[in-house]
Symmetry: C3
Subunit: 340 residues, 3 copies
Amino acid sequence: MTDPRFHHRTGPYSLARIAEASECVLADERTTSQECHDVAALQDAGAGHLSFLDNPKYRDVFKISKAAACIVSAEAAVDAPKGMALLISKNPYRSYALAATLFYPLPMGDGIVSRLAHIDPTASIGTGCSIAAGVVIEANTRIADGVRIGANSVIGVGVEIGAGTWIGANVSLTHCIIGQKARIHAGVRIGQDGFGFALGPKGHLPVPQLGRVLIEDFVNIGANTTIDRGAGPDTVIGTGAVIDNLVQIAHNVRIGRGVVIAAQTGISGSTVIDDFAVLGGQVGVAGHLHIGKGARLAAQSGVTKDVPAGEDWVGFPAAPRREYWKEVALLKKLLSKTKS
Amino acid sequence: MTDPRFHHRTGPYSLARIAEASECVLADERTTSQECHDVAALQDAGAGHLSFLDNPKYRDVFKISKAAACIVSAEAAVDAPKGMALLISKNPYRSYALAATLFYPLPMGDGIVSRLAHIDPTASIGTGCSIAAGVVIEANTRIADGVRIGANSVIGVGVEIGAGTWIGANVSLTHCIIGQKARIHAGVRIGQDGFGFALGPKGHLPVPQLGRVLIEDFVNIGANTTIDRGAGPDTVIGTGAVIDNLVQIAHNVRIGRGVVIAAQTGISGSTVIDDFAVLGGQVGVAGHLHIGKGARLAAQSGVTKDVPAGEDWVGFPAAPRREYWKEVALLKKLLSKTKS
Amino acid sequence: MTDPRFHHRTGPYSLARIAEASECVLADERTTSQECHDVAALQDAGAGHLSFLDNPKYRDVFKISKAAACIVSAEAAVDAPKGMALLISKNPYRSYALAATLFYPLPMGDGIVSRLAHIDPTASIGTGCSIAAGVVIEANTRIADGVRIGANSVIGVGVEIGAGTWIGANVSLTHCIIGQKARIHAGVRIGQDGFGFALGPKGHLPVPQLGRVLIEDFVNIGANTTIDRGAGPDTVIGTGAVIDNLVQIAHNVRIGRGVVIAAQTGISGSTVIDDFAVLGGQVGVAGHLHIGKGARLAAQSGVTKDVPAGEDWVGFPAAPRREYWKEVALLKKLLSKTKS
């Protein structure tokens, strides 16, 4: 189903191997050596295909799917069509991610340092790195083993990149330390000056931005996202945080572990987003705030005060979700009366 | 009027030639061989200049304009100052676009493949292509005839680009098929991983993104816009869609023919925008929605449900325009009473 | 405190020298020859460190700070701990900016034109320019003295750049004239086509964009910001305007002197932002509007009409701040009654 020009498939794999890789248990021992050669969506899958059911909405599609094998919860398994091999999972979407990664491992690069890359002689490059044409690596950088850097990216003076990190094309890194196994997509800008000026009626004076950006391990950063370096303290992106495209992270911001930030969201200076908070798209968070652990901010929220841990907020100015929607409903009622 | 360092003017042209190119009829046959050498706005135009009147607001400016010739509707023509040659059009703005394109053809490039471009030997490059310095073209790409690629752009493995497509500087293309006569401006990112993760309390697992991006013919994509590839299905941008700067298009989105999307708008995963819909700037559309044919979404709308074909929606959560503004007015009234 | 891999510190400096550079007066003549070797925040500062107190919130931290010297207002000076040398300023944050710039001058580049830059023979390059590897400078450009251009940036045909301007990595400039001492961060796109189309039911026709972008002196432009060239008139960014990351400036927009625009804000076509107006993040301003001198637009505002000089507006549709918040409070009251 996938286009072989773009996606390199491995396999086929036995169901035993797939189950092991994807944290599943086979429903029927007799299917152990049955093989699958690809993954596919329920409605598209056929002979030799592995599929999955996660969203209950697709239960009817599941019932008539022609997939040879399917990852499914124990509860949903009862609806399986006859002849379908079942891999039982407590978390079918996670299991699918693992199985799909077995067939299509995350690309790492070809292990070649292009002779068309421009690498300063003082740079230290680890073993097994893939550095594409047009990459510029400036003085005193330290690139660990197995790093992949896409074409025409620029790694500024003194930058450090941890082992196994993957960097797309046309990326600019400066004043930053990147951890291991991070994924930084095309066009990302990390480490440029924060937006700090002493404003004045005759002109604005730039305030030297004397910090760095620290990107911890396993972080994902989407295309054309910008992360400014700190004004004095560092800007920090915590382990395993996943950040979408066109997001703005201002100076001194601290993003906790496992935080999720959807596209086009902006975090103003010195704000702290605590671990595993989830921010929808186009959210704006004002400066010097604290968003508590596991808090959830709905898309387009405009957050002007601290959000306690675990709460769901929405709207502008953002308020707790239940309160917000209750007020919206109440208002609708009030207005409908006014009409009559 | 235009700066010759940046804009290459052709001509002069006779009014007969201009009328033919711009779908106009000359009001007076005797002006057939009169020549214009440039276009200009009504208030700036003088001898030898062609202008146009589209917006009725400018009727007074039209009445005293010194333009030698003007594109105008039959109705408005009556207000023309004496001595002005008139080109009558059913759609003066469209006619102006055609006439201006006659004087200033869309730039296509110099037909030179720079020896400073890095082109993989397995790439296939058509005739008449312009490929600037620092461009990186990776393995197994297929570039059709007359394509222009700006400096330091990166064309990833296996990408296909149709004939006559124009690509700006510092663009990154990967996992995508681009149609003919598309225009892709500087800093655009197409085909990177969609934002798909199996979220979990101990960390988020990337889900392999196994689709592509298909950009159909005549599409325009603005600077620094990002379009992610599909998770399984493809992300598709339909023929003649025009997309402004800094727009985010998530995985699996399908944009129909002739859709217009203004700057900084974001479309979440798997949403379908049907043909000729028009989205203002900074709109956010949630995932898995359907925006009907010809629907119009006002700037900054936050769309949380399907929008029927042909409707005008606005606000957060977005609602039909008439209903929204009626409620706003009603609320104003209610509040003014509360004050008293 | 700062990481020497990224920040090059000069000094040490005597307090007399620092006071002179930072528009301060020493509280005690006997400290004239005392030296500081770095700047630091009040809570981190120790021997040899210069700090500053601006925000009254930090007064308690000031009282127990171990900073050797501190920039402070005459009023706040009374709270200083014993033994701290004081530099009295009318504007401590501005003075800090000046002092920090003394220790850490804005980086300008190494004065080297890389032999890995691709410079067209018709380009004119001033003295003392720093042009990094992979930079592409096209025909007939004019680069004045002391300009710094970061790696893999592209300077298009005919572009002019004024003396002492600093340009980051992966920037694209076309159809524009840049003034002196501007700072243009990584990934900025200037001068591409404005978003102008003659819309039609069978397809949209691009309207030739025949203007330029003029960037005046001392302008700051943040990473991945996009500024389109004019359709006929020019797009203009006035002297000393400071623009943050991911901002969109459409064709024909005129930004006045000293305007401040925070991240992810978008200005639609032909709008004028008058001198020293301040726009928060994620603001949207519709087309053909006038935002008056010194007006302030709160973050996420959606501005649909002209804003008079000096006014504070907020919300969607944006309204004067006082009025807006009064209505919000009134509404809250009304709704709380409705509940009871």
